[in-house]
């Protein structure tokens, strides 16, 4: 198939960027979207032009490296729960025009072309997205019983791959789905209870320093490659409200 692609090119964080149009001819419908870009890149380099930079690694939808806005939709799969690397060219038609843009958010500055800095998401985890247990201090694993349904729900939340599509797609540039997934994963499990209140207060505080707020558009859920439910956002709100009204001043959280 023959396509026309408009790709955002930007040399560096500071440089001005803009769209450049390339033709992607003779692309196999069995190729993945990233393989289509590989082919375009090989041809560009043969002509002496620098390749389009984009982040990618596992190419099977689990590492969370890849991600771009494809025709105005994060990862481009339109509600099929796929990461960019899992999208295949057969989803397009011969002669299609495709607009490819980097994730956009204040917290995700462009590094080069389609690569953005998603370090803000790590900062949210650093604020409390863990259970404080040192190596070696763990009790026997089966001492702790976790109801199957609770474990399944925790696993639903834990499936997040931190790709940032939720932020990219959200009209508010909010990271609520990402943060709530981690808050819920740990907050649902018995292991996560001792730090539950402190965790949600700290993670939300750091999240709000960088990202927007949630107005429940539901866009994040629709593009999430792991189909993480927006209900976790409600759950995080509940935890946050409960923690806010029951945490004494002395325990005030520093961020």
């Amino acid at each position: 198939m023959n396509l026309k692609i408009h790709v955002w090119r930007q040399k560096s964080r500071e440089a001005e960027g803009g769209f450049v149009t390339y033709s992607a001819d003779a692309i196999s419908p069995d190729a993945s979207f990233l393989e289509m870009l590989d082919v375009v890149n090989e041809r560009l380099m043969e002509k002496g032009e620098e390749s389009i930079h984009f982040e990618h690694d596992c190419r099977e939808g689990i590492c969370g490296s890849c991600g771009m806005m494809i025709n105005g939709v994060a990862h481009g799969s339109r509600g099929n729960g796929l990461a960019t690397c899992q999208l295949h060219m057969r989803h397009f038609k011969d002669g299609d025009e495709i607009w490819i843009e980097p994730w956009r958010a204040r917290a995700f500055p462009v590094i080069k072309d389609l690569i953005v800095d998603r370090g803000g998401l790590d900062k949210i985890i650093q604020a409390g997205g863990y259970i404080s247990v040192n190596t070696g201090s763990a009790p026997e694993a089966n001492m702790l019983l976790v109801p199957k349904a609770v474990q399944e729900r925790a696993m639903d939340a834990a499936a997040c791959i931190q790709c940032g599509a939720c932020v990219a797609q959200c009209p508010n540039g909010a990271a609520q789905l990402f943060t709530s997934a981690k808050v819920s994963h740990l907050g649902l499990l018995p292991q996560g209870q001792p730090e539950r209140k402190e965790r949600v207060l700290k993670m939300v505080a750091v999240m709000e320093e960088m990202f927007g707020s949630c107005t429940l558009y539901g866009e994040c859920e629709a593009v999430c490659p792991k189909e993480i439910s927006i209900d976790f956002i409600g759950r995080m709100n509940r935890d946050y409200l409960a923690a806010s009204v029951t945490t004494a001043k002395k325990e005030k959280v520093e961020t």
């Binding site: 040399k11 560096s12 196999s28 069995d30 190729a31 993945s32 393989e35 590989d38 090989e42 380099m45 002496g48 620098e50 390749s51 930079h53 982040e55 690694d57 596992c58 190419r59 099977e60 689990i62 590492c63 969370g64 490296s65 899992q86 057969r90 590094i111 080069k112 690569i115 998603r118 370090g119 790590d122 985890i125 650093q126 604020a127 997205g129 863990y130 259970i131 247990v133 040192n134 190596t135 070696g136 201090s137 763990a138 009790p139 026997e140 694993a141 089966n142 702790l144 019983l145 976790v146 109801p147 199957k148 474990q151 925790a154 696993m155 834990a158 791959i161 931190q162 740990l186 292991q191």
Partner: protein, 636 residues
């Protein structure tokens, strides 16, 4: 070079306790005075960096990804083994140890494997405490399944995402230490050299992948947890960026490289569909529990599947291995598939594929049962190939998956360079010549959580006050050599892209150093690799500059190292005149089965770098089996 394995004396079951009891300790108040560099943050690297931080060391952790959580450990699907014996089915530390030794075709160190089996139970405890959502029974206890052809259920799993969940556990522990200030995290930094001062590893040289800046970092010890090298085949199940550069730089600075020819080819991957193919996707091994593998009996049979009558189908695994059938171990199933394709009976457009057929299982169990067991895998297959595996058989083909070989390390995980430790898949590991399913996660985490953080103290205790500043000649020289290499790659200004070379190298390796190797083929491959490498340095085309993000340049450096490693793999494969596990020499077989030569090759081959253009030197670490009796693996 003398290889001191430092295996503690005494009975197998007491070796690890004994080692811990005799290690020198670092005073808790002194720990923060030691800097430790950890390169890589997969299961091994992240767990090591976090645990070292918890102990109070000053840790610097380097990854080339944008976040430590992207490491390729995240893609592991199946599970992690542990000798918990929750099923009361006769499992024990000893049995896990024995299965691993046997699965590795008697080419692993007994003491290491026993320690691995011992620590496996602690890993599960640790992971559960961190909040890893392992599958549970209705009563709330941990669920187990059997995996990888062993006879007990000892595999713990978290849906099809066990690697991801275990990595997130380690990642979160690491992020906690970053927040506490004990670990300083360097994302988007790629290690390009190891700095050795007076024979001791004292630091690394990195390239900042955003600014292009080449920097030196000094420390009291360096830990490499940088993963495996099967991307030398270009097409593999590894992530695109997985590479051997860190351990290869260490090799060139004096760390012996062990058993490079031991690579694992996984039988159930989706075949290549075209030249644009960038990587191969693994389908879980569990599919072989219900799928039947076959090819047409006739060559070049292009009839639609449904028109090939039963009598004209060859269920070759069932035919050759009646007792194990479709469940034969990975190395054996892979080789059998290759053979039938070589005979011209392969299926699919490329002729490199065999059918994995569920028609019988669907008839027997009903479509819904199959959907429940494998629904997500069938969906994944459908997404990639646009074929419906409920209607038409899947096509599969073997693909490079894991490297058992790697940097040689002693019992304490230290390489032949004092102060340079290598953990996880990057070391030559505990798997011998073949790795069993659900063992890789176990090894990475055992190394990172429990072995290295303890064993490294033994070395550091003697290094008080021996820090070397990062502006001394050893460091500035290393920086200069990295810069020189980078500018050579940039200034070649040739006509071919890095990927085109990598693809060609991969084809050579796959054809001659892949699933079946011969003396003649390996010699030919060596010549071809040398020629291609020379052409590479002359004719590679790397655009852009070194002072900006430059993905071509990153790849170019990694591929340059793959060329050299590929040659060493061929040398090793050529010298090992036997067939063992993942290493199959066509000359050494008995009725089509691998034939080991324990008299001549019961050793670890640790190759030592002797300089540019000079043959590497072979050092042998004899393998002593005190506990296990050597036997021939048979699956007929």
């Amino acid at each position: 070079m003398e290889l001191k394995s430092k295996i503690p004396p005494g009975p197998l079951a007491e070796k690890w306790s004994k080692a811990k009891a005799t290690y020198k300790l670092v005073n808790p108040a002194n720990k923060r005075k030691y800097d430790i560099i950890v390169v890589g943050a997969g299961l091994a690297g992240a767990s090591a960096a976090a645990s070292l931080g918890e102990l109070g060391y000053n840790v610097k952790c380097f990854v080339f990804h944008d976040s430590p959580r992207r490491a390729h450990s995240i893609a592991a699907q199946g599970g992690i083994n542990a000798a918990k014996n929750y099923r009361n089915d006769g499992d024990s530390v000893y049995r896990l140890f024995y299965d691993t030794i046997k699965g590795g075709d008697y080419r692993a160190r007994e003491a290491n494997v026993y320690r691995l089996a011992e620590l496996s139970v602690n890993i599960i405890d640790q992971a559960v405490a961190q909040g890893v959502p392992f599958a549970r029974e209705y009563g709330g206890q941990l669920e187990n399944r059997s995996f990888g052809g062993v006879q007990v259920s000892r595999t713990f799993y978290a849906r099809g995402q066990t690697g991801q969940q275990l990595l997130l556990g380690a990642f979160q522990a690491l992020e906690r230490q970053i927040a506490l200030g004990t670990v300083k995290q360097y994302n988007r930094h790629e290690m390009l050299d190891l700095v050795v001062v007076d024979g001791h590893a004292k630091g690394i040289v990195t390239r900042n992948l955003v600014t292009g800046k080449i920097e030196a970092h000094s420390a009291d010890a360096v830990v490499l947890g940088t993963g495996g090298y099967v991307n030398v085949f270009y097409l593999s199940t590894n992530a695109k960026a997985s590479n051997a550069t860190a351990i290869w730089r260490a090799y060139k600075r004096g760390a012996a490289f062990a058993n490079p020819c031991y690579t694992q080819i996984h039988p159930t991957c989706i075949p290549q569909s075209g030249d644009y193919q960038s990587k191969l996707t693994l389908m879980s091994e569990s599919l072989r529990n219900d799928g039947r593998i076959w090819v047409p009996k006739a060559q070049k049979d292009t009839r639609p599947v449904k028109q090939i009558p039963e009598a004209e189908r060859d269920y070759f695994l069932e035919r050759k291995y009646p007792s194990f059938g479709n469940l034969a171990p990975r190395d054996i199933a892979s080789r059998a598939a290759k053979e039938v394709c070589d005979e011209g009976r392969g299926v699919g457009p490329s002729g490199r594929g065999v059918f994995l057929d569920f028609a019988d299982a669907i008839k027997r169990l009903g479509r819904s049962a199959i959907e429940e067991r494998y629904g997500n895998l069938f969906d994944m297959y459908h997404d990639i190939t646009a074929e419906n595996p409920y209607e038409t058989p899947m096509r599969i083909y073997p693909a490079p998956h894991y490297s058992m070989g790697g940097t040689w390390v002693d019992y304490n995980l230290m390489s032949t360079i004092p102060g340079c430790y290598v953990i996880g898949e990057a070391n030559f590991s505990d798997h011998g010549a073949n790795r069993l399913g659900a063992s890789a996660l176990m090894q990475g985490l055992a190394d990172g959580y429990f072995v290295l953080p303890v064993s490294i103290g033994d070395y550091l205790a003697g290094q008080m006050g021996k820090k070397v500043a990062a502006d001394t000649p050893a460091f500035t020289d290393a920086i200069a050599s990295v810069q020189d290499r980078t500018s050579r790659l940039l200034s070649a200004k040739g006509s071919r892209t890095v990927d085109s070379f990598h693809r060609e190298l991969g084809t050579i390796m796959w054809d001659y150093c892949g699933m079946a190797r011969t003396d003649e083929g390996l010699r030919k491959a060596r010549t071809m690799i040398t020629e291609l490498r020379e052409q590479y340095w002359r004719d590679v085309k790397v655009l852009g500059t070194g002072e900006e993000p430059n993905q071509s340049l990153e790849k170019a450096g990694r591929v340059a190292d793959f060329f050299e490693l590929a040659e060493l793999m061929c040398i090793d494969a050529l010298h090992r005149e036997e067939s063992a596990g993942g290493h199959f020499r066509s000359e050494y077989q008995e009725e089509g089965e691998a034939k080991r030569n324990d008299d001549k090759f019961l050793y670890v081959a640790a190759w030592e770098y002797t300089g540019e253009g000079s043959e590497p030197r072979l050092n042998k670490e004899p393998l002593e089996y005190e506990e296990v009796k050597l036997a021939t693996r048979s699956y007929k």
